[in-house]
């Protein structure tokens, strides 16, 4: 019995790691620019597909590096050409333009890679299973948990323990004042957007061996990521991590304990979070 629950905890952690990678960029660009980027799920999808194509040529480890870099570049390009301009127009135009991008990205992926789900084979070093507290668990999924944890730790350190992070937090809390003391918030926006796109791309390539890459990913990944962002609060890394753990926990344990109601639970949690604490569970002090 303990083996069963160990498995479920590991499943929840692995799910949370993926959710965190998608939601981190969404959350920070939300907090920093007030920008609701619905195309974030599309960047995640591109990460998975680019990763699969690169891995077919050069192997898994190159893909693991190249796909996030490629998606970062796409993100930066999108920001410079389109989204940066739209960011100034207000929430509705942002939502709609990024929704338009979801349509376009989904169709482009269908044209280039087709409609059939594609699976990525991870490196042989990550194949197989290990024994953990009585349960056997795939090594690859442990690897995903480690990547999620490492990224969360690195981001937290970067945001909370570096000068650049301090400037970033200042821009979230009070953009006008940050500009007044010489922080170039425009450049900060671009940096955050590029980084967030890269993380989503990493999430995509890491998820590809677990959930087959398909053109529906852009939409299906978006909603859980938005829920994580709203539950965790915008613009902070710890909140995104906490939100990812809560959402993953509800999804995994909900499916085990209340199979009949599992689909409703996550949306109920979102509704409760919005009513009880619309600014998010953890939120930068100034925003509350």
């Amino acid at each position: 019995m303990t083996a069963f629950w160990t498995l479920q905890v590991l499943n929840a952690l692995q799910h949370a790691a993926l959710l965190f990678l998608i939601a981190a960029g969404l959350s920070v660009s939300f907090g920093l620019m007030g920008f609701v980027n619905l195309a974030h799920g599309a960047l995640y999808m591109l990460g998975a597909f680019i990763g699969i194509s690169v891995a077919a040529q050069t192997g898994f480890w190159v893909a693991l590096i190249a796909a996030p870099l490629a998606v970062s570049a796409i993100g930066a390009l999108l920001y410079l050409c389109l989204l940066g301009r739209v960011a100034r127009l207000g929430p509705m135009p942002q939502v709609l333009v990024s929704f338009g991008l979801v349509f376009i990205a989904t169709e482009l992926v269908r044209i280039v890679w087709g409609d059939i789900p594609l699976v990525l084979d991870p490196s042989a070093a990550l194949a197989g299973r290990v024994d953990l507290a009585g349960a056997t668990y795939p090594v690859y999924r442990l690897f995903v948990i480690c990547i999620g944890a490492a990224m969360a730790a690195a981001l937290w350190l970067g945001v909370n323990r570096t000068n650049l992070g301090a400037a970033l937090r200042a821009s979230v809390e009070n953009p006008g004042m940050a500009r007044a003391i010489g922080i170039r918030t425009e450049r900060m926006f671009l940096l955050v957007f590029t980084l967030g796109a890269g993380l989503a791309g990493l999430g995509g390539v890491v998820a590809a061996p677990i959930t087959a890459a398909n053109p529906g990913m852009a939409v299906s990944a978006l909603i859980p990521a938005l829920i994580v962002t709203v539950i965790g609060g915008m613009g902070n890394i710890a909140g995104a991590a906490l939100g990812a753990l809560i959402v993953a926990g509800i999804e995994v344990f909900g499916a085990v304990l209340f199979p009949a109601a599992s689909a409703v639970l996550i949306y109920a949690a979102l509704a409760v979070a919005l009513i009880w604490r619309p600014e998010g569970l953890l939120v930068a002090k100034g925003a509350r």
Partner: protein, 312 residues
Amino acid sequence: MFRLDAMRIVLLVLLLAGMQVFAMLGGFFGQEIVAEIAILAILAISLDLAAGFGGMVSLGHGAIMGVGAYAYALAGQHGLTPWPAALTAIAASGVTGGLIGAVSARMQGIFFIMATLAFGQMIWAFTFSARWLGGDNGMGGIARASLPFSDLSQPMAFANYALCLLLAVFLLAAATLSTPFGRSYQAVHDNAARAAAIGLAPRRIRITGFAISSAIAGVAGILAAQHMQFISPAMMFWTTSGEVLVVLILGGIGTLTGPIVGAAIFVTLKYWAAGWTDHWHLVIGALLIAVILAGGRGITGEAERRLRHAFR
């Protein structure tokens, strides 16, 4: 503030007459397309009432429409004849919207969108897993309405019936916006603080407005159920609501005629493009971005602005 001016009346008459001619000349296929346009247009008008005139952008309108469709089917199963069943369904949608509005009305912007998404998805997930509602198989064998002078099982008669309902919903929405309530509703959208200062109750007005919009979404649901004579939870999924939002933005938000233009273009493009490509969403996505970058007024809004300039 909404005005049913000459320009809008002319556009409405042209649209309805155009669809009527299209249904008459287009054969069975044309008549089915006109019915589909009318359903989508009614749903888009209902969303225009909430989003365009009340500032409440909803991603739950598909689910609210679905509540109407399912209530209509259930009432029919329990022996109600189509017209009383339709009234029950409209009430069910209105009450659902009122409840969602009551919880969400104090939220603004993206939080309101997320709240309606949450409630809409809850309704979808519940229906999807409820065996007594047919689960993901949906429900079939739904009766069309009966009229003394026309047989609605004929596609042409049904297309005409759908167009009449569209006209009725349009006039009802326009009339609602012209009542004292409608004026206060738009005032709350324009500036809630000032509206409160002159003695209006913004929260209650927003909730009522959302409930009225939801009741109209219920009409779209009933018409959709009667059209296909089959319903499934797919219509409740949030992407349906997202699609209607796209239709509304393309056509022109806050105009009431825009939703009809948007629905006509959307459905026509879908069937026209289906003949030679599978990727027509590419065009929709590009159109959506172009409309927003051009100022977000949509096709109708842009045309109205140009015409006003030309006649000045």
